[in-house]
Point group: C2
Chain length 152, copies 2
């Protein structure tokens, strides 16, 4: 949870872990996301999905990532100091996510470096992890965020 | 464009480029995606976005990625041979995407390796790139896809 004081780059400690909470997936939501953004048959067509290697409908990896991003924004990002992200690395979709699944996620502060070009900000690296209701690791990601430094 | 014969792992050639076509962003769509998945103020609130370092509303990086995924599925993936993806690497959001922007994207086959554990499939690595209407490089990504091999 965020404290009431703004959380600056200076306040992050490498090794700190933050719970992101949980998010669940319905079949309707899986199909709706995939119709817009990833209309492969195992994401949008329950019958075709049953015949596929997955044996049933699974969420697009991008849908899983987007729903974890929502948890990240709601439970970790301090919007008073957040300055966006230049990208992410090593996104891994390790297990299928199916209708009815609930994922629980957390992030760990994996590194911090001052910005060389912009003294008012610094870079935070985070390791994301999410498990399903069986405790299986479902997704991991290495994130990078730009965060405002404490004014001097 | 896909030929009418199924496109197997065996048919991919390293260095081949594929046009993915174009996709445009409206303010409504930017805000709608972000309200669901990335409700940071510079993605959902035009007034707050004007006061931010971005000077106006910008699309969530995850929205940009999802819309490029749609182009990838519509214009590159052969669903008869596609077996999903274990993840992606080096997602880079290089320039903000704003309402009215049109992105044009392509992928290059960057590598192919047989699967060690599953002889019926192989791995394809792709480099994604997208430029905006000014010709600026906006996003890059290294993708990995599992593709069925030609039956022997």
């Amino acid at each position: 949870m965020l404290s009431k004081a703004p959380r600056y780059w200076d306040d992050y400690e490498v090794g700190q872990k933050f719970d992101l909470g949980s998010t669940s997936f319905t079949a309707d939501e899986i199909v709706d996301f995939a119709r817009h953004y990833d209309p492969q048959s195992f994401h949008v067509d329950a019958d075709a999905a049953r015949q596929s290697m997955f044996g049933g409908l699974i969420a697009s990896g991008w849908h899983v990532t987007a729903k974890l991003m929502r948890l990240f924004v709601d439970n970790y990002v301090d919007q008073r100091t957040a300055l966006g992200s230049p990208g992410v690395d090593e996104v891994r979709w390790l297990k299928p996510v199916r209708p009815g699944d609930t994922l629980t996620a957390w992030v760990e502060c994996a590194g911090k470096v001052p910005s060389r070009s912009r003294p008012e900000m610094g870079i935070i690296h985070e390791q994301w992890q999410a498990t399903n209701q069986k405790g299986e690791l479902v997704m991991t990601l290495k994130g990078t965020n730009m965060v405002r430094r404490r004014p001097v």
